[in-house]
């Protein structure tokens, strides 16, 4: 090829790129995401396989950066292994198994009752049942501690011990049993959302197909309903299981006091002990487990169908008549939902109003921990929650984190959706879609560990982000990307290509096309995606616990800190504050967007 022909080819592709903003956006997103998702993974694999400065305590004559199986040996084949690896592994798997089994069963049952039967008060119950989704997953654990704390740890006593004078046995107060129960009472809401969406859509398909060819009721259930529900059920199981693997708050609150470790808490402990190498190896094992699960699921169900995301449009068709059971079942569901939402919040409220922790008599009630100020004999002189600078700063940080992450995710979801849909069929589009989905496979705590590995030292012009506020935003955005990019793609698919092409032909440039046409038309999807990110960011602990420092403290971190310091009134009050704000913002955004005509917001 002559140099002239070469020049013309280059010129052509230059022109072509100017003509295809989606290619540029797609490429930039791809590179950025590779940097934020794949590079950190490569980094911790590398770190896990080489000697790090902190290892020199064990191997004084080692060369930093040289290849070594030291971390692998420590984790998998050393006297420490049972404590470091095998016991946490068994604990995590057992917890994962039981919570998934119980949570998905409850969620599916509730979904069936609320979508397919003539149970009463559907609207109210349906609205209440997703509230756990808006609360931190460990609210239930806090409530549990308040209820069942025993004298094993010292400090104050729990509700039960205080009221009845019976000390609950250890297995009730701490460890495996309460962890499973409290997690299951939270995560059923995720399964509910997935299954109710699936049940609502299966309904119509079932009516078309099954009834017309005269299938019997059970045959229809077996041959049509179940296969159609399988993808949703599969994702509910995998999703719940991966979340449980990566969850930190509950096993920390209920497990650490009795030195009961899961993978997540062991990673936390290793990082605290400056044994990052161990934590990295454990994080990698978690990721491998998560990937295997996704793989098995996609094998059974088929790759395409296996990634059902949350949609919550629940509409009834033909309803199963509950007959005599109608009222009792309504009451039972109502009580169950109340016990998962109202009871823990009520307990926390009471707890936050007790002067001396563990004394639940009425004359022990006080508002000190909400609005009291600097009494040195109480709570180490910490002021009440609403007047406490540290807490208010954390609250501000949480809000900032939620809003920034939501905005970033909104923009990113839009851009990824735009690039993926416009480039449909191209390799770039597929790669982008794939990589935007990748964070899904990282259990939260593992992603946090990965980010420690990646961002604890400067990268090129980028300063070390560890301990800064920016890294919290970054990791939250990345973790939520699978969901928001899916929302973005779905929103973009609904906008006919000709909407934008008409604008192009009329001479309207890219920015204005985005601002005036694409964004307004995809607003409703974007808003619900952003709202979800906000909620997730506000209540998140597992993801960011490893990255928190006094400088970037957020509310969830504060709660955890107070709980560790045995200051249950503070942690309860802050928790309530947090849940209140999340619900408030949720309601507010829905009201605003409804009145602005955005409409069509989905649950979840």
């Amino acid at each position: 090829m002559t140099s002239q022909a070469m020049g013309q080819r280059l010129r052509y592709h230059g022109f072509r790129l100017r003509n295809r903003p989606d290619l540029i956006i797609g490429f930039v997103c791809l590179v950025a995401l590779a940097f934020l998702v794949l590079a950190p993974l490569a980094e911790i694999i590398l770190d896990a396989l080489t000697l790090q400065p902190y290892d020199l305590a064990y191997i004084p004559d080692g060369v930093v950066g040289s290849f070594s199986l030291f971390h692998l040996e420590r984790v998998f084949a050393s006297p420490l292994s049972p404590a470091l690896f095998f016991r946490p592994l068994l604990n995590s798997l057992a917890i994962g198994f039981w919570v998934t089994l119980i949570g998905v069963s409850i969620g599916t049952l509730l979904a069936w009752l609320l979508v397919r039967t003539d149970i009463r008060c559907k609207g109210l119950l349906g609205a209440l049942v997703v509230i756990p989704y808006m609360m931190p997953s460990w609210v239930m654990a806090l409530a549990w501690i308040s209820l069942f704390k025993n004298d094993r740890i010292g400090g104050s006593q729990g509700f039960v011990a205080g009221f009845f004078g019976v000390n609950p046995p250890d297995w009730v107060s701490y460890g495996f049993f309460p962890i499973v129960v409290t997690l299951a009472l939270h995560y059923f809401a995720y399964a509910y959302l997935l299954m109710s969406g699936a049940l609502a859509t299966v309904d119509s398909e079932l009516e078309e197909a099954g009834a017309t060819c005269g299938m019997g009721r059970w045959k229809r259930l077996w041959r049509i309903t179940l296969p159609l529900l399988m993808p949703a059920l599969g994702s509910a199981i995998v999703l719940t299981f991966i979340r449980i693997l990566g969850t930190f708050g509950t096993p920390a609150l209920l497990g650490l006091p009795v030195r009961f470790f899961t993978f997540a808490t062991q990673i936390y402990a290793s990082i605290n002990a400056r044994n990052n190498g161990d934590a990295f190896v454990l994080a990698l094992v978690l990721i491998v487990i998560a990937i295997s699960f996704i793989w098995i699921n996609s094998r059974i169900i088929g790759i395409r169908k296996s990634f059902v995301t949350l949609t919550g449009k629940g509409f009834r068709r033909r309803e199963v008549r509950l007959g005599l059971w109608r009222l009792p079942l309504t009451v039972a569901v109502g009580l169950f939902i109340a016990s998962t939402v109202l009871v823990p919040l009520a307990i926390l409220l009471w707890e936050s109003l007790t002067l001396m922790a563990g004394d639940y008599r009425l004359d022990n009630l006080t508002t000190y921990f909400w609005i009291g100020q600097g009494n040195v004999r109480l709570a180490y002189g910490e002021s009440g929650v609403l007047l406490n600078d540290g807490i208010l700063r954390a609250l501000w940080n949480s809000l900032k984190l939620g809003i920034l992450a939501a905005l970033c995710n909104g923009v990113l979801g839009l851009l990824v959706g735009y690039a993926v849909v416009r480039g449909r069929g191209s390799r770039l589009s597929k790669a982008l879609e794939g990589i935007a989905f990748a964070p899904y496979i990282f259990p939260s705590i593992a992603l946090g560990a990965i980010y420690i590995g990646m961002f604890s030292s400067p990268i090129g012009p980028l300063p070390a982000l560890y301990g800064t506020f920016a890294i919290l935003v970054l990791i939250t955005v990345v973790k939520n990307l699978p969901f928001t990019s899916r929302t973005g793609i779905a929103a973009m698919l609904q906008i006919d290509k000709s909407m934008e092409e008409a604008a192009r032909v009329l001479g309207i440039g890219w920015f204005r096309r985005m601002a005036r046409i694409i964004v307004p038309l995809s607003m409703s999807g974007l808003v619900s995606g952003m709202l979800l990110t906000f909620i997730t960011a506000m209540r998140e602990l597992s993801l960011i616990v490893l990255l928190l420092s006094p400088a970037n403290m957020v509310l969830t971190g504060v709660i955890f800190y107070y709980q560790e310091q045995a200051m249950p009134q503070h942690s309860s009050a802050v928790t309530l504050l947090l849940v209140l704000i999340i619900i408030l913002v949720n309601v507010l955004v829905r009201l605003i967007s409804r009145s602005a005509g955005v409409g069509g917001l989905k649950n979840g």
Binding site: R16, R18, D496, S498, E501, A502, I508
Partner: protein, 365 residues
């Protein structure tokens, strides 16, 4: 008025070639129609002119300006081509009022406020939509949406108008009205217009010139008169005209000085047929060009009337002669009943002959 020049444009989707090395020049001020069955590459060609389709090869000139050449490394984006395009779906922005749909692009152009107002008002006036300027597209009927799309386009005063099956979503009656309105618009604006349709009647009524496409290739490029009377091959012959042209396969027979085509039960004068290698030919006769008598006429062939379909202004007759079935059209609402005998005759000048192997027209000019 601008000329449009397409030379050697090609577009493939994977293995499937949508447009094959197409050459086409559209003269300044001309109303040119691209006609062809669905999937033949019309939309692709039109979108290539607008710049919405990346071509694999070829060059496009708009006026003097080269807007696309892969070899020379030129791609002018659609924003900068200054053409007007009407989409089949109209592509109105559903979240904006009619007025806003029109003014958005004017603002982008950097026009002053009074100028924008004036142009929008004039465009709305032209399509008689002034009263509905405050409505949203979803509050308009199909025909009204169509008008808004037209107004949005002409407010920018493009020199080139591109229309992709603009009438296909309208009901039959409205379609006829809009047809003449679009033609009037073309004349008033003095623009060069490329119109895409699969409706041969639309093409015949509107166009200065028609390009018939099939499977990504141009079959014929000529005036409506020429296309109708002298189709270049069998595909064009069959595609144009309603009711469809009659095809009579047969053998060429020389009888003294005269040539005849002898088919199954019919004989047609074939003086215009040029010699071909074999003796088999296909004759094509338009339904209105077969003469008809209800009483015997010397030298005419007897036939049997199978079916009568009056449409009001015309009557379509199904006739069989031997094994050959023919369609005839007569003006007016004929009151005859099927089953009687008829006598038919052919006008030698109106018969076109085709080689059944190559499908090409082999008639003498």
């Amino acid at each position: 008025m601008e000329q449009i020049g397409l030379s050697g444009i090609r577009k493939a989707y994977g293995r499937e070639v949508a447009v094959h090395d197409l050459d086409l020049t559209i003269r300044p001020g001309e109303f040119l129609t691209i006609l062809g069955p669905s999937g033949c590459g019309k939309t692709t060609t039109l979108r290539a002119i607008a710049g919405l389709e990346e071509l694999d090869d070829g060059e496009i000139h708009l006026g003097e300006r080269l807007v696309f050449s892969r070899r020379r490394g030129v791609v002018v984006p659609p924003e900068k081509r200054g053409v007007g395009l009407i989409f089949q779906s109209y592509a109105l922005w559903p979240h904006m009022t009619v007025q806003r749909n029109i003014t958005l692009a004017l603002e982008e152009k950097g026009l002053g406020k009074p100028e924008i107002e004036a142009r929008a008002a004039q465009a709305l006036e032209t399509v008689q939509m002034t009263a509905l300027r405050g409505r949203y597209p979803s509050e308009l009927s199909g025909g009204q949406q169509q008008r808004v799309a037209v107004a949005r386009m002409i407010a920018l005063r493009p020199k080139i108008l591109l229309m992709d099956e603009p009438l296909s979503n309208l009901d039959a009656k409205l379609r006829l009205d809009m047809r003449s309105e679009l033609l009037q618009l073309h004349r008033d604006l003095g623009s060069t217009t490329v119109y895409v349709t699969h409706d041969q009647a639309e093409a015949l009524t509107l166009s200065d010139r028609i390009v018939v496409m099939d499977r990504g290739r141009v079959l014929q490029e000529a005036s409506p008169y020429e296309i109708y009377h002298h189709p270049r091959n069998l595909v064009v012959a069959e595609f144009i005209g309603e009711p469809r042209i009659n095809l009579v396969p047969g053998t060429l027979v020389r009888e003294g000085d005269a040539l005849h085509l002898v088919g199954d039960g019919v004989r047609l004068p074939a003086d215009r047929a040029r010699q071909v290698r074999g003796e088999r030919l296909t004759a094509a006769v338009r339904p209105e060009n077969i003469r008809l008598s209800t009483t015997p006429v010397e030298g005419w062939q007897e036939a049997h009337l199978d079916d009568v379909q009056p449409t009001g202004a015309t009557t379509i007759l199904q006739v069989s002669a031997g094994g050959t079935r023919l369609r005839l059209v007569r003006p007016g609402f004929l009151r005859i009943t099927a089953g009687i005998a008829l006598w038919i005759n052919f006008d030698p000048d109106t018969i076109e002959f085709f080689d059944p192997d190559t499908q090409d027209n082999v008639s003498a000019p």
